[in-house]
Each structure stands twice: as C-alpha cells, then as structure tokens.
C-alpha cells in the first residue's frame, strides 16, 4: 500500500535526522552502566561485607531469655518445710487472639473482683506494648478463680491462666524475721557485692536467711537461646540453651515445734525471744514480735501494705531479737558475779549487808527491796537480785573490768549470727563516753551499770549467748541458723575460755535457785528439768522504780526479761526472752520460756540423738521446691 510505504520512507528519514539509533545507544549504555554498578554493589555488600552483615542478621534474630532457677526450699532442723515455691496463677489476656475482648472481660470481671471499666482501661494502657505480650488481668488468683476461667474458656476467647512460681512461707507470721522475704532485686542492690552476678528482674532474698543464703537458694540462671521476629515474639529455639541449676535447699537449725510454741506463747505481746543450743550454737527458735506475713512480699503488695508496716509504731519490720538494744537490768547480774569471781574481788561466800540502799561515790543508790535484804552471799544476791550487793561488786571492779567481762560474755559486739543487720549493743567504757559525750566517766555511772542499767544495751540474742557461756563453763559459742558443719566459737581469738568453770558454778546454782527454790522465776520451772534462769526488768520510765507495774499505763511499764539455760547438770539450751512493757520478767517472760522448753525436751525425747536423717522428708521438700505440693 502506497501510503504505508510513504510512511515508512518518512520514518527512515526521521530516524536518520534525529540520530534516533545513536540516542537509543547512549540511553542503553547509561542503563547498562547502572546495572553493572548495581552488580558491583551487590557483590560488595554480599561477598565482600557478607560476614559482617550476617553477624548483624544473627544479632537481630537471636535473643537470650533468662531461665530463672527454682529457688531452694528452706527446711527446719528435721527437714520440715518452712519456705517453698508454690504455683501461682495469673489470668492473662492474649490480645492477638481476642478479637472482641469486651465480651470476655465482662464475663470474667466479677470473678476477678474488678470492673469491666478497670480491665478495659488496663487494655488501653497496654496498647503501647507489643501485641504478642499477654496482658495480666489479675495476678496470683485463687485456685477457684483459675478453675472458673479454665472451665469457661469457651466463652472467654483469648483469656487463659498462666502459671508461675511464688515463694510461700508455711508458717506465716511465725518466723517472719529470721526467714526474711524475697522480692525483685532493687537498683541499689545490683551494685552490692553480696548480689554479684544478679541481674535486673532476679528474685532475691532481701532480709534474713533468704538473703544470707541467697546465692545457694537462688541457684544458677539458665539461658534459652531463641529466634525472635522483629516484634520480639519468640519464633523458635536456637542451639546452645543452658538449663537452670535449681537452688539448693537450706536446712536451718530451727526446731519448728519450738518456733511455733514460742510465737504462740507470745500471743499479742511485743518483744523477742531466742533459744540456742549451747553446744553447737544452733538457733532452735528465734522470734520478734509483732511479726508480719512474708507471703505478702512474694505477691505484688500494695503501697498501703508497705506503708502500714513502715508506719506501725510497733515497728513490725524490726528484728528485735538481733537489732534492738535493751537495758539488761538484773539479767546482767550473773555476768557481774562471774567478773567479780574471776577478778578475785569476791568469792561465793562474800557477804554484803543490804539495808535497802547504799551510798556510792557520794550518791545514795536504792535496792528494789526497800527494807533491804540483810546479809546476803553471792548465791543469795543473785537469787533475790539484790542491787546493793552488785553495786558493791561494781565499785570493787571498776568500769574497765566490768566492760571487759561483759565483752567476754559476748555483749557489746555482734555474736556472728549468719544473718545480716545484727546490732552491736553497747558496753559503755570511759573511752566510749569521751568519744560520744565529750565527758569523763563518773564512777557513779559504774554503779548503775552494775545492775544492768545506765547506757548498757544488749540484744536478746547476746543475752542468750551470754547465758550459754555461763552454762558451758565460759565457752562462748557463735550462734547460727544454718544446720550442719562444725560449731564455731563466738569468741574473738585470744579471749576464749577465760572464765574458769569452777568460778561459774555458784552463778549456775543461783540461777537454778531462782527457778526451782524460792525466787522470781518459778513460773519457768519444769519438774525434773532443772531449768536455770534470771529475771530482769529494764526501766522504760525513769520514775517507775518503786512503783507497782500495775499502777502504770502499759507503755510506761518496764520491759520484762527472762534469761537462762537448762538443765543445770548437763546444759544443752540457753535462752533469752524479753516482753516489752511486760512488767516483771517472772510473770510474763518466764511462762513463755517454760512452754518452749517443754517442746525442747519433748523433741529431745522423740529424737534422742538429735540430728535428723534425710529420707522421705527431703524428698517431700524437693517436690515442694518444684511446686508439686
């Protein structure tokens, strides 16, 4: 066809005139150059730099998840469970699989004891979190609620139960202080060498045994190496995961029968008590009242709960048995007697006249017996707790000797118990007074110290150690809460066993008489057990001397002490109990001691050769630790 032919001729001319072909070639070369440079770029990124980017890709997808080891259980001396891990149920909402959560939340809210609005609010707040993270609707719900959610799961799309582990203390408020509690590690604790190796989020012991043996109880964290996607959701496992090493069980020296009896005997009274095995230093029972329930710390406790504990005037968080310094009052007299005998300023037969008061260094000091005790020897002086007798010994000894022997009996220094925050107490000396009060020591102050008053401060634990030393011929033992191993001396090097055994016999006899003859401690008497003890009152209100306790308001009444050991012939247990504002030790503290000692002797009879065997109880404990009980 001619027009088409013409057309084609015209096109040929056009192609030549516009250098069409050359221009296409230029464009093609340009495109070819770009493609070639891309090829080089791929080569550079993939082959030259490939290893580096492979590492970056691996870092992207790999994550290490911490596998928390199950915490070791805490057992009593007979391997009975005190603290274990229990399963805890959380109600969680899987936001990815809950298309319309309102319906489900409406159904579940009443069971959780909350309102739909609150749950919806929590849901909205969670919207900033990755969607694959489940939202905890309620934590640590009861088994009944967990069962309800499981049973209604068909009506509750996306809502399920997540099981975890929580610390559980079987004894509740009994033993709150020596056990301590656990919680998430605090920011400040991470720098503490005690918690070396811990990481954010670890559950660690914060006080008491839980803290002291945290390293062993905690176990070793494991590691799960996983593949995650960009949202952080776990997609699978990588090789090289390390299982956690469970924490080991810690067996304590505590005798649960005695511990329960001690706390029961205290009832609502405030104070502290310590019972020690005088041969090993084993703490058989130790309490501080009021207590708190450490189980609350394992849960997400509320601000009010914490505020209540901190602001309570009775200071339930304080471990009075080891942290509170009290005036020992008359319970210091056995130590004074031992010092006088050892220093040779008195012998058991040394007789002193008490006329109800005595003048020392120009001041008149009263005896608690206004009419006086008449002539008393050392045994009688302890038995009737004659102040004048001990004023006299104090003036003969001088403050330096008094302080020396007080320290030898373990006062004014930490006993070395294996849990933290023990108080030193205070044994005053002229140097101490110059340092703290910028004043010299007045001899009349020695007179006050001689009967356990003045600046002298002791902890109940120290008094139990001191009584142990009196019972064991001066051998001072280091108290301990963890069972096993060799008993350790509580004495510093070089000053052990300086109290001769013979010199203490009169003191022991006197303490026996306090309980078993006529004396102030007869309420601690157990037939055939030869309990020995000494009562004491620590003044709270300066004007209380000579006033009957019953006439004073409770908060002004004296603190009541009862310390001692048992039995006389073959001492195996020493103790110290203080009841704050308890009035007289003989009436409030001695009966507590009597009840606990009963349990002690019962335990001895059940297991005469003391140390319990492993066996089935340990297996129970292992099962409990794994959360199966």
């Amino acid at each position: 066809m001619t027009p088409d032919f013409k057309h084609r001729v015209e096109y040929k001319e056009y192609v030549e005139a516009t250098q069409f072909s050359a221009r296409i070639t230029v464009l093609s070369v340009f495109v070819g150059a770009v493609f070639f440079s891309y090829l080089l770029a791929f080569y550079y990124l993939q082959v030259v730099e490939g290893v580096r980017y492979t590492e970056m890709a691996e870092a992207n997808r790999g994550r290490q998840l911490v596998l928390a080891p199950p915490r070791g259980a805490i057992l009593d001396r007979y391997s009975r469970l005190i603290a274990r891990n229990r399963p805890a149920f959380d109600v969680v909402l899987d936001r990815e699989h809950a298309a319309r959560p309102e319906e489900a939340l409406r159904l579940v809210a009443p069971a959780l004891g909350t309102s739909v609005d609150d749950l919806m609010l929590a849901l909205r707040k969670a919207s900033v979190r990755p969607r694959h993270e489940p939202l905890v609707l309620a934590s640590d719900v009861s088994l009944a609620v967990a069962a309800f959610v499981e049973a209604r799961s068909a009506d509750l799309p996306g809502i399920s139960i997540s099981m975890g582990m929580k610390r559980s203390y079987q004894e509740g408020k009994s033993g709150s202080h020596y056990l301590g509690y656990v919680g998430e590690i605090g920011k400040g604790m991470l720098d503490n060498p005690e918690f070396e190796g811990s990481v954010q989020g670890d559950i660690v012991g914060k006080t008491g045994v839980e803290r002291a043996y945290n390293r062993e109880l905690h176990g070793v964290r494991g590691q799960r190496r996983v593949v995650v996607n960009s949202g952080g959701r776990v997609m699978g496992d990588l090789a090289g995961s390390i299982p956690p090493v469970p924490g080991i069980d810690i067996r304590l020296t505590i005798n649960l029968d005695m511990q329960r009896e001690l706390d029961a005997a205290f009832g609502d009274m405030v104070g502290a008590g310590v019972f020690l095995d005088t041969r090993s230093g084993d703490v058989l029972a130790i309490t501080s009242r009021p207590g708190y329930d450490p189980n609350y710390f394992a849960r997400r406790f509320t601000r009010q709960f914490w505020k209540g504990l901190v602001e309570d005037p009775l200071k339930p968080l304080q471990n009075r048995a080891i942290q509170s310094g009290y005036s020992p009052g008359s319970t210091f007299k056995p130590v004074m007697a031992a010092a006088a005998l050892e220093e040779g300023v008195a012998v058991p037969s040394t007789t002193i006249f008490c006329g109800g008061s005595g003048v020392f260094y120009g001041r008149r000091f009263l005896c608690h017996e206004k009419s006086g005790h008449g002539y008393v020897n050392m045994k009688q002086a302890i038995q009737v707790s004659c102040n004048v007798y001990f004023y006299t010994l104090g003036s003969r000894l001088g403050i330096d000797s008094v302080a020396k022997y007080a320290k030898l009996f373990g006062l004014g220094r930490r006993t070395g118990l294996d849990i933290a925050n023990e108080a030193e107490g205070l044994v005053p000396t002229p140097e101490w007074k110059m340092k703290t009060h910028k004043d010299r020591w007045y001899p009349s102050e020695t007179t006050s110290v001689s009967i356990g008053q003045g600046p002298l401060l002791v902890t109940p634990l120290q008094m139990a150690v001191a009584q142990g030393a009196i019972a064991m011929d001066g051998r001072r033992i280091r108290p301990r809460l963890r069972a096993g191993g060799q008993p350790a001396s509580g004495a510093a090097e070089g000053d052990a066993d300086v109290i001769g055994s013979r010199s203490l016999e009169v003191v022991r006899q006197a303490e026996w008489a306090v309980v078993n003859e006529w004396g102030t401690g007869t309420r601690a008497k157990i037939e055939g057990r030869d309990v020995c003890g000494k009562t004491g009152t620590a003044q709270v209100f300066a004007g209380s001397a000579g006033v009957k306790d019953e006439d004073l308001p409770p908060e002004m009444r004296d603190h009541a002490w009862f310390v001692g050991f048992a039995p006389l012939g073959n001492p195996r247990i020493s103790f110290a109990v203080i009841v704050e504002h308890g009035g007289h030790g003989g009436t409030t503290a001695a009966p507590i001691v009597q009840r606990v000692l009963q349990k002690f002797f019962e335990s001895e009879e059940k297991a005469p050769h003391a140390e319990p065997s492993a066996g089935s109880q340990v297996a129970d404990a292992a099962a409990a630790r794994a959360g199966n009980l």
Partner: protein, 363 residues
C-alpha cells in the same frame, strides 16, 4: 489478525525473561508472605492469570489499534486519578486506591501505560523532525498532568517513573544536546529548591536524611534502609537458602513482599540470585530496545522506548533502594513486587512491546 510473518519475529527471549522474572518474584513472594499469611501469594497467582489474559489480548491486536485508544484511555486515567484523589479512602496516608470489593485498583499504574501511548501518538502525528519548543511543552504537559495528580495523592513512588519517560521521549525526539544539558543543569539546581522549598513532605525529607546516614536513627526512620542492607549483605554468595532468610522471615524487613522483595531474594538466594535477577532485567531491557530499533514506525518505536523507560527506571529506583544507594521512594519492582495493578500493567506494557516487535515487517 496474527500473521505468520509476525509469528516469525515473535521474541521468545523477551517472553522467557518475563517468565523467569515472574517466577522468581512468585518464589520470593511465597517466601515473604508464608508466615504472615493473608493469602497474598494466592491473590498474586490469580492476578498473574488476569495479567496473562491481558498480555495475550495486547499482543493479538495490532498496536496501532491500541494507540488509537490513547486519547480516551489517557482521559479516563486522568479522570480516575482525579476521582481517587477526591473520593478514595486514604491507605497509609495516601489516597491512591479504589476499593472495589475484593480488590483494590491503583489507577496510577494504568496511567503509565496510557501516558506512553499518548506520547507515542503525539510524536507520531507531529510531522517533521526535531523538537520545537511548542511540542516540548506539549510533551511536558502530557506527562505533567498525571504526575501532578499522582504526586498530589501523595504517591511519590508512582509518579517518579514518569520523569524518565519524559526524559527518554524528549531525548529521542531530537532535542539538541546543548539544550538538554541546560535543562539538566536547571533540574540539578531545582533539587535543593524542591528539598527546602516545601515540596517534599516531612516524612520524605526524613527518608532522604536516613538514606544519607541510616545509623542515625536505627530504630526509627533508618530501620528500613538498615534492615534491607543487612538482609542483602547477609545473603552472601549463595544466600541463606529458600525460606531461610531471617531478615525476611522474621519480619525485620518491612514491606518485604512489595518494595523490598529484592532484599528477600538477595538474602535467600544470595549474590547468585541477585545477579541473576539483574541479568534478567537487563535482557528484558535489551529486548525492548531491540523492539524499538526494529519498529516499523515512530509509534512503535516510541511505545517500546516508553515502556523501556518506565520499567527500567522502576527497576533502577527499586533496586537502588534495596542496596541503600537511594532514599526510600516506594517504587515497586516490576514483575516481582506484590500488586495486581502493577503486574497487569507491566504485562500489558510488555505485550505492546512484543506487538511492536512482531509487526515490524507488516505493511
């Protein structure tokens, strides 16, 4: 209508390159969407069937017939672009889709094809050689209208390939080299004006900045650039294996099934795969250029070169982003990226090219 002589010049290499590119794309698409689900792979296969039918139809009818529809097609596309701008619901901040029940239509894709035909028609009908300033204005106008409408959506990625199209047509129409250089200089001077003059949206500026220094904000805007580079780099020589690329499989790569499908390929089948894809695209480009050279008239030559300009610039822009050589622009990779409109349009465009090639001897 198909004549035996036409069959003799059927470009089997071009079809083979298309098939390889499409096959590679489907493979990577399968890998990229396997875990996220949503049936994207199945939808793309369905679109491929549609594209194949469109392809056959495009090839079967002489391109002069299609060119005859250029004006109404161009008008329809511009109308749709206007409509989409006014009515359509914004998807991720941009109004570029029609939601038509079971699928969404992106008129910007069809507009590319209509504009190519429109340009070719104009050059064909314009008699004489050389490029008058009046016809230059005309060409700019033909391209400018859809570019303006698309850029206003705003969809920078879809409007970008129109510029190389204009460039190629202008160059081929015999613009004098000197004038071209002056225009090029003016364009270069306009870059800072565009950047600072408020034409770019803040997020677009951010893309440019993070392209220049992706580590400045690795969690935020630099994420895509960095993750793509990691994906490509970690592929190594042979790749991490099909379905084994952690960057793509674990969703570190955003848009792995659309704009970043090439990253998935580079990660999973390595430099070998990436080089293969580059070669396939270059072969495709070469065959389109060959079709243009052998065209029997201006219309055919301009259609083929227009398609070359659009497809090639899309590939260059897309892979440049993958490699971290260009800021993120949102240009899909022809034949490989997920998207029905793009696939159908690309098949239609390549059908036209094949058409031109086949009918080079027809008189």
């Amino acid at each position: 209508m198909l004549q035996r002589r036409a069959l003799g010049t059927f470009d089997w290499v071009l079809v083979a390159a298309m098939a390889v590119a499409t096959g590679l794309g489907l493979l990577m698409l399968y890998s990229a969407t396997r875990l996220s689900g949503g049936g994207l792979f199945q939808r793309q296969v369905m679109w491929l069937a549609v594209a194949a039918v469109v392809f056959v139809i495009t090839v079967a009818v002489d391109y002069r017939f299609w060119a005859g529809l250029a004006v109404p097609a161009y008008a329809l596309c511009c109308g749709l672009l206007l409509l989409v701008l006014i009515s359509a619901r914004a998807i991720s901040g941009s109004r570029s889709w029609f939601e038509l029940g079971f699928f969404n239509l992106q008129p910007a894709e069809a507009a590319k094809l209509a504009t190519i035909l429109m340009l070719a028609r104009y050059v064909e009908e314009k008699k004489g050689f050389g490029l008058s300033s009046r016809s230059l204005m005309m060409l700019v106008g033909i391209v400018g209208l859809p570019v303006f409408l698309i850029a206003a959506q705003p969809d920078l990625g879809s409007s970008l390939p129109f510029l190389p199209l204009l460039f190629v047509v202008v160059v081929l129409s015999g613009i004098r080299w000197k004038l071209l250089m002056i225009l090029g200089l003016v364009a270069a001077l306009m870059i800072p004006m565009v950047y600072f003059g408020g034409v770019l949206k803040p997020y677009q500026k951010e893309r440019v900045l993070t392209f220049l220094d992706p580590l400045s904000d690795p969690q935020g805007a630099g994420w895509q650039v960095l993750q793509s580079r990691i994906a490509v780099g970690s592929g190594g020589l042979w790749g991490r294996g099909l379905l084994q690329g952690s960057q793509g499989q674990l969703e570190f790569l955003p848009e792995s099934h659309t704009d970043f499908i090439m990253s998935v390929m580079a990660e999973e089948i390595g430099f070998a795969g990436a080089a293969c894809a580059l070669i396939v695209y270059f072969v495709l480009f070469s065959r389109i250029v060959a079709a243009a050279r052998s065209a029997r008239d201006r219309l055919g030559a301009y259609i083929a070169m227009g398609v070359a300009a659009v497809l090639c610039s899309q590939a260059i822009l897309n892979i440049g982003v993958i490699l971290g050589l260009m800021p993120t622009t949102g240009v899909p990779l022809p034949l490989m990226s997920y998207g029905g409109s793009s696939l159908v349009t690309t098949y239609a465009a390549l059908g036209l090219v094949l058409n031109v090639r086949m009918r080079c001897l027809v008189n």
